[in-house]
Symmetry: C2
Subunit: 106 residues, 2 copies
DNA sequence: CCAATCCATAACTTGTTAGTTATGGATTGT
DNA sequence: ACAATCCATAACTAACAAGTTATGGATTGG
């Protein structure tokens, strides 16, 4: 299982977070599409995607010579759990999110 | 204002996160108490505390020659907001899926 | 007043990581 | 079959971050 720690450091890098955010916003994207936006080289993007994949934050689907990546926001669940413990103040706001993620788990 | 990015990298380090968690769990602590738990030298702890303070995650109160640190979980707010947005992308998709399933039932 | 304590900063070392270029495997189109 | 495209990996470099020891300021106790 992925820990909140791995997710924190996985999303700690700005470029990597931007890639994940783009996948969330715009849906499935090829490596090349992500590279155009990222402002870094294609191998750099591939490495970031490997890290995100290890965290379970993205899924890849090969189609011909293209690889399509998509976001898996459910993988944020351990972060939600961590936050609900340490951000007691926002307990209520988070209960709703937790419910949603649990429904997805089923 | 502190961005979610600064919080992600601020909490990305395991030692730093452990310090913050200890402050959340056990309340106000001196630097020395934190050092005993942290497993690293006192200057290392001080540097981590400086980072956490820059993120607004801790507050320090000097009393004599001791400095008491305490957690400020409210500073996690930008992270909560970030999560709401990007866990929300999942919800939209889930809703669309629900719609689709409903239409298929008919 | 002097020694001891608590902490922060400075200076430095080292390990990690994000970036690069080079390359090769797999696939497609001609 | 061949050239071109898409992507991942390897190998390397450079930058940063986290650790160390050394030091000094501030405070307390004797």
């Amino acid at each position: 299982m992925i820990t909140s720690g791995e997710l924190f450091s996985g999303l700690g890098d700005p470029t990597r977070r931007a890639i994940f955010e783009q996948l969330c916003r715009e849906g499935e994207q090829t490596v090349w599409m992500l590279t155009e936006q990222a402002g870094v080289s294609q191998p750099a993007v591939s490495k970031h995607l490997a890290v995100l994949k290890h965290c379970g934050l993205v899924h890849d689907r090969r189609q011909g010579r293209e690889v399509h990546y998509s976001a898996k926001p459910q993988a944020l669940a351990p972060l939600v759990d961590w936050m609900s413990v340490y951000a007691g103040f926002w307990r209520e706001r988070f209960d709703r999110l937790e419910d949603l993620l649990k429904r997805m788990d089923q």
